[in-house]
């Protein structure tokens, strides 16, 4: 692991041609930016889908001008059909979970910063790395292509429960070719994630520079390392599940379809499959996926908090152990998605306890963050605001987990908007705030220019209040038994809840519009932002010891040597209040207390 030789640099010189430099690049930094760009594009599409869905839920017969351009059959006269709502909902969930929440905090930031933070010049398998991005890109194209096939995309939701997902077009529009495209896209996506995870793990274990012991790695590196182990095991299960699903469509198999199913008065030509098998396979991936989205955000927020609180967290190691604990437990809790699925009711109790217990490491992480605010010297810049906002969102999303971990309460809350509120807070908004915090924090390093802090603060304030206005009322709707995945609310008991939906729609449109400020800031700063110094936040980890942006080999020919724990902030008796990891001065470590 120590002291990668200078020969490696010579062997890995920067390309000069446009294609090798910017398109099929082997440079982890370019690949990280490519992942970020893909996530940004996916987020814009996903957000647009949420807008039209929300408008439809508030005012079901409202004609959305121009919607027919997206699909003539799906939106005749610009009014969405019931099936088109479900198709857009499926695409919203899929695009957001896979191509935004997995891609941005893990693949984008991880690719760019993990090698730099451990003092490596690149990842050990640059070709695999390049392949991982382009495979993910192909996966995205296959997914989006479903919009343009005759029946449109699948309508079976991002969870794709069989046999709705496995029977074919008899089950509904989009369940033929659209469904095969969905399953193919996700299977391809899994390949990209597996290649990426292998690179992350190997980089962390084998490419650390001299002095970079495991405990000297920043919390972001730990978070990406833990996430990549989760990704390796979770995506390795989802991929075969998707392949079996494709086979049920194209090869006449019946992995997920039992016998004697009748559609349109016709007995389906399947037998011997199990519908619950899909749910077990999917959720064995699906629950760790929640943590694949949130653990990197935890790392990012911890990393940024220390630079902005000007102190080490209460304990570096306890935080790492807690993230590791969450990762291990994440495989034992997935059954809480299936309490009322027909699974053995004793299994429900068995899955309930680990689900409840996982709140302990999550609570430890929150308490470490909160206790670290105490007695700090906070610099309330935009990255700090988004990090603190993420803590607030994570707390809110976390406490609703107490309910959904219990099978007896799942009777009332399963498949209601309570679940929608829970996962949007704990997974989507928390991870998004982590992504925003990471963007404002690392943009100067990635592009060599500062983002506009005033615009960043406006973006934060409106997003913070807006996110609560959108997602908190979902819990109220769920408590009142408002079932999710309905394109319109025709039941008598749902009529009084429609005004709440309208409030949410207005909040979603406004909060979505606020994101345009972020996009403007991103694009404007990229080209016209103030040039960034090497270490604008007076931070300590290795990415701040190189230029902004870093050179092709990251450290300009000489790999750094590490002398300290990563978060030497709040140092007294020195000219500044921090000591960088590369600073050879003998200063007592304060990074860890437990």
């Amino acid at each position: 692991m120590h002291d990668m030789s200078a020969q490696a640099h010579a062997a890995h010189a920067g390309p000069t041609g446009f294609i090798r430099k910017h398109v099929f690049s082997l440079d982890h930094k370019v690949i990280g930016k490519q992942y970020y760009g893909l996530a940004l594009l996916a987020a814009i599409i996903g957000m647009f889908l949420s807008w039209v869905m929300r408008i439809h839920l508030g005012w079901t017969n409202f004609a959305i001008p121009g919607l027919h351009l997206l699909s003539k059959n799906g939106a005749p006269g610009d009014v969405m059909t019931p099936e088109y709502y479900l198709q857009l909902m499926t695409m919203h969930g899929t695009i957001m979970v896979f191509f935004v929440l997995t891609t941005a905090p893990f693949a984008a930031f991880g690719n760019f910063f993990l090698p730099i933070q451990v003092g490596a010049e690149d990842m050990p398998f640059p070709r695999f790395n390049m392949m991982s991005f382009w495979v993910t890109f192909v996966s995205f194209i296959v997914m989006v292509a479903a919009f343009f096939v005759p029946d449109g995309p699948s309508l079976a939701g991002w969870t794709q429960y069989a046999p709705l997902s496995a029977i074919g077009s008899a089950a509904g529009p989009g369940q033929g070719l659209g469904e095969v495209l969905w399953a193919s896209s996700i299977a391809i996506f899994c390949i990209g994630q597996l290649l990426g995870s292998l690179n992350f793990i190997t980089t962390t274990l084998d490419m650390r520079t001299k002095g970079m012991s495991l405990w000297r790695m920043p919390l972001t590196t730990w978070a990406w390392f833990i996430t990549s182990i989760m990704g390796l095991t979770a995506f390795a299960v989802l991929m075969p599940a998707c392949i079996l699903l494709i086979l049920d469509h194209v090869a006449g198999t019946s992995f997920f379809v039992p016998s004697n199913l009748v559609l349109n008065d016709q007995v389906q030509p399947h037998s011997g499959g199990s519908t619950l098998l899909w749910q077990h396979l999917f959720w064995f991936f699906g629950h760790p996926e929640v943590y694949i989205a949130i653990v990197p955000a935890m790392g990012i927020v911890s990393h940024i908090l220390m630079a902005t609180l000007r102190r080490p967290l209460l304990s570096h190691r306890v935080l790492v152990y807690s993230m590791g604990g969450i990762a291990v437990l994440s495989y034992m809790v997935y059954g809480h998605h299936m309490f009322v699925s027909g699974m053995n009711p004793i299994s429900s109790i068995a899955f309930s306890f680990p689900t409840l217990i996982i709140t302990i490491p999550a609570t430890i992480i929150v308490l470490i963050w909160l206790a670290s605010l105490y007695g700090s010297k906070m610099r309330l810049n935009t990255p700090c605001l988004f990090s603190l906002g993420m803590i607030s969102m994570f707390i809110t999303g976390g406490v609703s987990g107490f309910f959904l971990a219990q099978p007896s309460l799942d009777i009332m809350l399963h498949a209601t908007y309570f679940v929608v509120g829970h996962f949007h807070f704990v997974m989507a908004v928390s991870a998004m705030f982590g992504i925003f915090a990471g963007t404002y924090f690392w943009f100067p390093k990635m592009f060599g220019r500062m983002m506009n802090d005033t615009l960043g603060k406006i973006h934060f304030w409106l997003s913070f209040v807006g996110a609560y206005c959108i997602f908190m009322p979902f819990h109220y709707l769920g408590l009142a038994s408002n079932v999710r995945r309905y394109q319109a609310f025709t039941d008598d008991y749902l009529q009084p809840l429609i005004p709440v939906h309208r409030f949410i729609t207005i909040a979603a449109i406004c909060t979505g519009a606020v994101q345009l400020i972020f996009i403007y800031n991103l694009v404007h700063s990229r080209f016209w932002g103030k040039p960034a110094p090497d270490n604008p936040w007076e931070a300590t980890s290795l990415e701040w010891s190189t230029t902004s942006p870093p050179p092709f080999d990251n450290f300009g020919g000489t790999l750094p040597v590490v002398y300290h724990d990563p978060y030497q902030y709040g140092i007294e008796d020195s000219t500044s209040d921090y000591v960088m990891q590369t600073d050879p001065r003998n200063i007592q470590s304060q990074g860890d207390e437990a």
Partner: protein, 267 residues
């Protein structure tokens, strides 16, 4: 800005809790014998989650208020108790809380799902298909006739695929589109799906169970209040999912007997 942020967090937290405390939007009235345990569990969980939520958000706000604008010359201070204190607090407070919730919740769950139906429970079969529920009563012989998937014919209203010509037990079976049950009598609901996954959810009845194609499942319950309630599907089943519903009518025993006779005459 620190103080404004702190106040915003605390105001949002308290404002979020008010509709919960006032039950502005809440579970509908319970009409089952087993629902009280669920409702109590919900209230206890809400109290514990609510306290955790408010305490954490207020602490976050308070620390931002206090330390968001550091005064020059102020030194970094360590949280009393340190990391070990935090870990112990999390294990003791949250650990105890979640284990207690888990244990009591498991009991409420077991009362519903791990108890057998009473011997005199009324059997009713329910079939879910895109996008309707149908119910079958066994008729005077007390026996359900066998199902023949290949004989299902919606146009002829043979929703279950019964062969009343050859199957003696099917001849008196009563098929309806609504679920009528007598009040204060246990019902044993035998569930199967015709095509894809569906679900049976009656919020007032505190019953929620998926239909799983290929699996015969059952639930049992006793309704305690006469009235008409909506049965909704909660498992995404296709384009008509939002509109897949039926009515549960809880009636007196006499009214139920009359209803059953009328339905038998209509078959």
């Amino acid at each position: 800005m620190a103080k404004l942020f702190a106040v915003t967090i605390i105001v949002i937290a308290i404002a979020s809790a008010i509709p919960i405390l006032r039950h502005t939007w809440w579970m509908p009235e319970d009409i089952s014998t087993h629902g009280q345990a669920i409702d109590e569990q919900m209230s206890e969980t809400m109290a514990e989650a609510g306290i955790s939520f408010l305490a954490s958000q207020i602490l976050l706000g308070a620390f931002i208020w206090q330390y968001g604008r550091p005064r020059p010359g102020e030194k970094i201070r360590r949280f009393p108790g340190g990391a070990m204190g935090v870990v112990i607090a999390a294990f003791l407070l949250v650990g105890t809380e979640v284990l207690a919730l888990g244990a009591f919740g498991a009991k409420a769950w077991a009362n519903i799902y791990l108890t057998p139906p009473a011997a005199n429970a009324i059997p009713v079969q329910v079939q879910a298909g895109q996008f309707a529920f149908y119910f079958r009563y066994p008729g005077p012989d007390g026996k359900f006739g066998p199902l023949h998937a290949d004989q299902i014919n919606e146009a002829n209203e043979n929703f279950f695929g019964l062969d009343t010509t050859h199957d003696q037990d099917s001849k008196d079976d009563i098929v309806t589109a609504e679920l009528a049950i007598p009040v204060n009598r246990e019902i044993h609901l035998l569930m199967h799906a015709k095509d894809v996954g569906h679900s049976f959810f009656v919020p007032q009845l505190r019953i929620h169970q998926d239909f799983v194609p290929g699996l015969d499942l059952s639930v049992h319950f006793t309704a305690t209040k006469i009235g008409k309630y909506e049965i909704v599907c909660t498992q995404l089943c296709g384009l008509g999912h939002y509109n897949m519903k039926a009515y549960l009518e809880v009636m007196s025993q006499a009214d139920f007997d009359d209803w059953l006779k009328k339905q038998a005459a209509l078959q």
